[in-house]
């Protein structure tokens, strides 16, 4: 449409073949009153037809008038069945048999013609829809929306609005594909329980139930949910899984696809020209689902055809991005360079790459400059465009490094596991050029381009192995290992292996964490907690004995299972590794023994560990033989943190007069961080886990925290007046926790202990304790504490 408009504008002969009886079908079929967004905001619009964010109706109106004004030659109900010929002479056959002849053809059919199905049993049941025209049409129904795209989110929200009981099912636990607006909207809805949410769940089966089934619902949807198999009774399922290219038709036009992947899209040049000369592709089919982009392309493609070179709209933006690039190349050249050099980005179309680069930052670090430090809490992804970087594998010896050179990438460990950096990385040689990509857009890439994900997965295995197990070992000898390794997913509570099993494999934990427990006197006693980035199961391999402990996934885990035989072979060939492993083996043997000892006599350690202090880095402990219940700790917290206390002194268990109040333990591997859409939960250099202002109040962290120390609240500016209160008792008492006030309009956000990292002199709770009952301890210290208490 945009193309036609431009053509008309520039007086070319043209015809717009519209299959339907009206223009712009995709928007037309949006649900009524849908708010259409104009993403990406930074991108200027260059189409002759206006477009800005607004209600579906408004936009359609603008367009129709625009087309009319430009006197665009439109032919309605002209569904194209075939396109043949080449540049200068195309024959387009319409459904009614007529043919149209054209010099150039611009294919802007998008994908909506060809919606993606559930792909499971029962996907074609009548109550399973792939479209939602008017949410108002339904109410009082239990409706499951499947999908994580904008369409799915908008439908879910609209349906909930219309008074339905709506749950949304997402294959992942983040809505990273969605526009920011939608993202926060849906998360808010979930938080407020207007919409139910099944994260990292995928449909397994849909069955229609006989009328009068006691659930009273016609449908049963069975999901593979994160925490098990969910069984949902509902009236309707709306799956918005996006669309896949109408491959048959497109191929019939002679256009080839790069891969057999059903989602794959035809490759187009920077001028949107397909492999068939003269046949151009724009819009979703070219990999560009966003309206504004499509419209710009429509404009641009006409320019190209008219032989007027034009720069893509995002050119200036990219220029600023590439400004840092030392080679003084043009944007296109840079893009080519990157695509050539960096294999992981190779599978991207130029357009995807352009967008990818928009979010990225180019770095040219000096020789020896540190890119990131071991245990940093950053999680962006780096690709090396030129020069080298050195990954320090031995934290104690800066000399032991693995050098990565142009084309490789790093930082994916943290990207995937969401954990601290596992090694320090320095630039070497001074000619290094890096592209840093934030986690979110990287995830977007990984999810939309499977090819890229595979590359990264493979290298993750290698890297994990190199850093954790075999430092300084080059990729070569590890090949057999890598080949014999499989990436496995374990659900929460599922056992990787159990006590007594034969030791046939080594497990590298890629994400999530596991507990090691032993069966002591009939009940299983957790003796260790192993987090992502580490490995388990080496003991049996070293000692050739059956498993001496049971390892369970504490939360859903991605685990890399390394074949035992291959590993033994490696150890045989690489004595260094053997030593390392054996050392580790011994230390663990010892640790386990101690842990058992402690847990057995149910002593303080047993208690502390059972309170999850095993994974804590800093925890508030109250000696109740000193605590006079004055609650000044809570008040201090509230008054130093916007009148919202992040601490509940009274709640929480007590053992031998040692009280563990409900307050953040600043876990080694915070559960709360796992699933924070805006990446708002950060770790300060000193290890404090805190939430920054970018929190959108989705409440994931609150749900994820097993210790219930995160709450949703709104900080207020109220400043109690100390003296006024002391003398008159009027006004707010110092340290009052001001309850959330809806009318204030400030949204609830997640609040948690930040260990007063911004206050001199340490945590206010401890400083405010008049009797010395409150104490913040690090793990080493509470071992000491336990010793003194036992």
């Amino acid at each position: 449409m945009s193309a036609a408009a431009r053509a008309a504008e520039s007086g070319m002969t043209h015809v717009l073949l519209e299959a339907e009886a009206h223009l712009s079908n995709t928007i037309f079929r949006y649900q009524k009153g849908k708010h259409v967004m104009a993403e990406p905001g930074i991108l200027p619009l260059r189409s002759p037809v206006g477009f800005e964010a607004g209600k579906r109706e408004a936009i359609l109106d603008v367009w129709d008038r625009g087309m009319a004004d430009l006197k665009v030659n439109v032919r309605y109900q002209a569904e194209v069945t075939a396109i043949s010929g080449q540049r200068g002479d195309f024959t387009i056959t319409l459904a009614k048999g007529e043919t149209v002849r054209a010099r150039h053809v611009v294919l802007a059919i998008g994908m909506q013609g060809n919606l993606r199905k559930l792909g499971v049993e029962g996907e074609d049941l009548t109550q399973v829809q792939y479209q939602l025209d008017d949410p108002e049409a339904y109410s009082g129904e239990t409706i499951i929306v499947i999908g994580a795209g904008d369409a799915a989110i908008e439908n879910a929200l609209a349906l909930a609005e219309a008074g339905n009981i709506v749950s949304i099912v997402n294959r992942r636990d983040e809505f990273s594909r969605a526009k920011d607006g939608n993202n926060s909207a849906i998360l808010a809805a979930i938080e407020e329980e207007r919409v139910g949410f099944y994260p990292s769940a995928s449909p397994k089966q849909v069955e229609s139930l006989p009328a009068g089934h006691d659930s009273g619902k016609p449908l049963r949807l069975i999901l593979n949910a994160r925490d098990g198999e969910a069984e949902i009774y509902c009236d309707r399922i709306i799956a918005r899984l996006g669309a896949i290219p109408p491959r048959k038709f497109v191929e019939s036009c002679g256009i080839t696809f790069p891969s057999a992947d059903p989602t794959a899209i035809p490759a187009v040049s920077a001028q949107y020209e397909s492999n068939v000369e003269g046949l151009y592709i724009v819009g979703a089919l070219a990999g560009y689902p966003l309206i504004k982009q499509a419209m710009n392309q429509g404009y641009e493609v006409i320019e190209f055809i008219a032989g007027r070179p034009v720069q893509p709209a995002d050119e200036p933006l990219l220029e600023t991005v590439f400004a840092r690039m030392p080679f003084g190349l043009s944007v296109d050249e840079n893009l080519d360079l990157i695509q050539q050099v960096v294999p992981v980005l190779a599978p991207l179309t130029t357009l995807q790459l352009r967008e990818f680069m928009l979010d990225s930052v180019v770095h040219c670090p000096r020789d020896g400059e540190v890119v990131f430090e071991l245990n940093d809490y950053t999680n962006s992804f780096y690709s090396i465009v030129a020069g080298d970087v050195a990954i320090q594998i031995d934290p104690h010896d800066p000399q032991k490094t693995v050098v990565l050179s142009a084309g490789q990438f790093f930082g994916e460990m943290s990207l995937i596991s969401g954990r601290r950096r596992s090694a320090t990385v320095r630039a070497v040689g001074g000619k290094t050029v890096l592209v840093e990509t934030p986690r979110r857009s990287m995830n977007k890439l990984l999810q939309s381009v499977d090819a890229a994900r595979d590359v990264i997965d493979r290298s993750f295995i290698l890297r994990a192995f190199q850093t954790q197990v075999a430092p300084g070992v080059s990729a070569e000898p590890l090949k057999p290992i890598i080949e014999n390794s499989t990436l496995e997913h374990y659900k929460a509570g599922q056992a990787l292996f159990s006590e007594g099993d034969p030791g046939d494999a080594l497990y590298l934990i890629r994400s999530g964490s596991v507990t090691v427990s032993r069966d002591i006197g009939g009940n299983s006693v957790p003796i260790a907690y192993v987090a992502a980035g580490n490995y388990v199961g080496e003991m049996a391999l070293v000692s050739d004995m059956p498993r001496m402990a049971t390892v369970r996934a504490a939360v859903a885990c991605d685990v890399l299972k390394v074949d035992g035989a291959a590993f033994k072979a490696l150890m045989a060939s690489e004595p260094a590794i053997r030593e390392r492993i054996e050392a580790q083996y011994k230390s663990r043997l010892l640790a386990n023994a101690q842990a058992e000892q402690r847990s057995r006599d149910g002593s303080m350690i047993g208690f502390l560990v059972s309170q999850g202090l095993g994974e804590a880095t800093d925890v508030l402990l109250i000696d109740e033989s000193l605590c006079v219940r004055c609650d000044h700790c809570e008040k201090a917290c509230a008054s130093t943190h916007g009148n919202v206390s992040r601490l509940n002194r009274e709640a929480g268990p007590t053992f031998a007069s040692l009280h563990v109040p409900t307050s953040c333990r600043h876990c080694e591997h915070p559960h709360c961080m796992k699933d924070c859409p805006p990446d708002a939960i950060r770790r300060a250099p000193n290890g404090e886990v805190y939430i920054n202002d970018s929190c959108i109040g989705c409440g994931n962290c609150e749900r994820n925290c097993p210790y219930g120390v995160i709450q949703m609240g709104a900080v207020s500016a109220a400043k109690p007046k100390l003296w006024q209160w002391i003398f008159t008792g009027m006004g707010l008492a110092p340290g009052t926790s001001v309850p959330y006030d809806k009318s204030s309009g400030t949204p609830k956000k997640a609040v948690k202990c930040d260990m007063c990292k911004d206050l001199a002199g340490g945590p206010a709770c401890v400083r405010a304790c008049p009797t010395g009952a409150a104490l913040r301890l690090s793990p080493e210290e509470f071992m000491e504490l336990a010793a003194e208490r036992v």
């Binding site: 219940r629 008040k635 009274e650 110092p734 010395g772």
Partner: protein
């Protein structure tokens, strides 16, 4: 050294030493000095000790403010408390030497008396704070008070539901008893211990009644007696319960009802006991603080009058 260090021995008893030194200096000077008219508040040492004492008292009184200025980085509150206790004790010496042991029926001696009273109440506070926290911990579960209340409310709800099954009057009785339920109470009630309506005595008596049903059912004045004390409802339920003529289901419900009742009583009792313990732990403050204000007033009068009639 214990990780949890009591405020008494804060920083290895730093303030014990400092207070002791202060006392020694005071006593030393007092013994050494030899004023023309004998020791009294008017000698240079008298003025000296007086000023020191006054400053100390004012500073000690500021603990209340420091405790509540949570953002303050001015030492830890624990340190302040420690200093508060020990320097406060040292006032016994400083203040008394200031008087030169000249006492009489006047504002000046009143100030001294009040000071001693404040210190005494503070001492009491220290003792209480050493004893009660553990006591409270021993006696109560891990339930926050608010949750216990919630639990009791839940029980009330269940009680009403269950009672409703047993007909109108049972329901009414239950409602009454629920309305009678008392959590905590007034000042002295809390301190003295909230009278627990559900004594074990009652439960045992109840059991006796259950054992001799006929009489219990017949006995009218038992009814009245039941009516008299706060456990009318339980007696009522019990008597009806034992009067025999009802079906198994009803029996079951009654048993459940009684059961709920006894559990609720127990819970209420334990809550009230906890309230009492906490009340007794903080009672001293209700002397300490007002007396402190009184002391400040008398000091003001003392200082002004001394110079008014110089």
């Amino acid at each position: 050294m214990s990780l949890h260090e009591s405020f008494l021995t804060h920083a290895r008893g730093r303030w014990i030493y400092r207070a002791a030194v202060l006392c020694l200096i005071a006593v030393g000077l007092y013994v050494w000095q030899d004023p023309k008219a004998g020791p009294n508040g008017g000698t240079w040492l008298g003025y000296g000790l007086g000023s020191v004492g006054l400053l100390l008292i004012v500073w000690l009184a500021l603990l209340g403010a420091r405790k509540r200025s949570y953002a303050s980085r001015l030492g830890t509150v624990k340190g302040w408390t420690s200093a508060h206790v020990w320097l406060g004790l040292s006032l016994v010496v400083v203040g008394t030497l200031h008087t030169g042991f000249e006492f009489g029926l006047n504002i000046h001696t009143l100030a001294w008396v009040l000071m001693m009273l404040v210190i005494a109440s503070g001492l009491w506070g220290v003792l209480v704070y050493r004893r009660f926290p553990s006591l409270i911990t021993e006696r109560r579960g891990n339930l926050p008070v608010e949750d216990i209340v919630r639990e009791i409310a839940d029980m009330d709800r269940q009680l009403l539901v269950t009672a409703a099954e047993l007909g109108k009057d049972t329901h009414e009785r239950t409602l009454q008893s629920i309305q009678r339920t008392q959590l905590g109470g007034g000042f002295w009630q809390q301190v003295r211990g909230v009278s627990e309506r559900a004594g074990d005595g009652l439960m045992s008596r109840l059991r006796d009644e259950l054992n001799k049903p006929v009489m219990a059912a017949a006995d009218p004045q038992m009814q009245s007696r039941a009516g008299a004390d706060g456990n009318a409802t339980m007696m009522f339920v019990a008597s009806a319960f034992v009067s025999g003529e009802q079906n198994a289901r009803e029996r079951e419900t009654r048993r459940k009802l009684l059961d709920l009742f006894s559990r609720k009583k127990a819970l209420v009792a334990s809550l009230n006991a906890d309230v009492t313990r906490r009340a007794r732990m903080s009672l001293w403050l209700y002397l300490h603080v007002p007396l402190t204000l009184a002391l400040l007033a008398s000091l003001l009068a003392h200082v002004v009058s001394v110079f008014f009639y110089w």
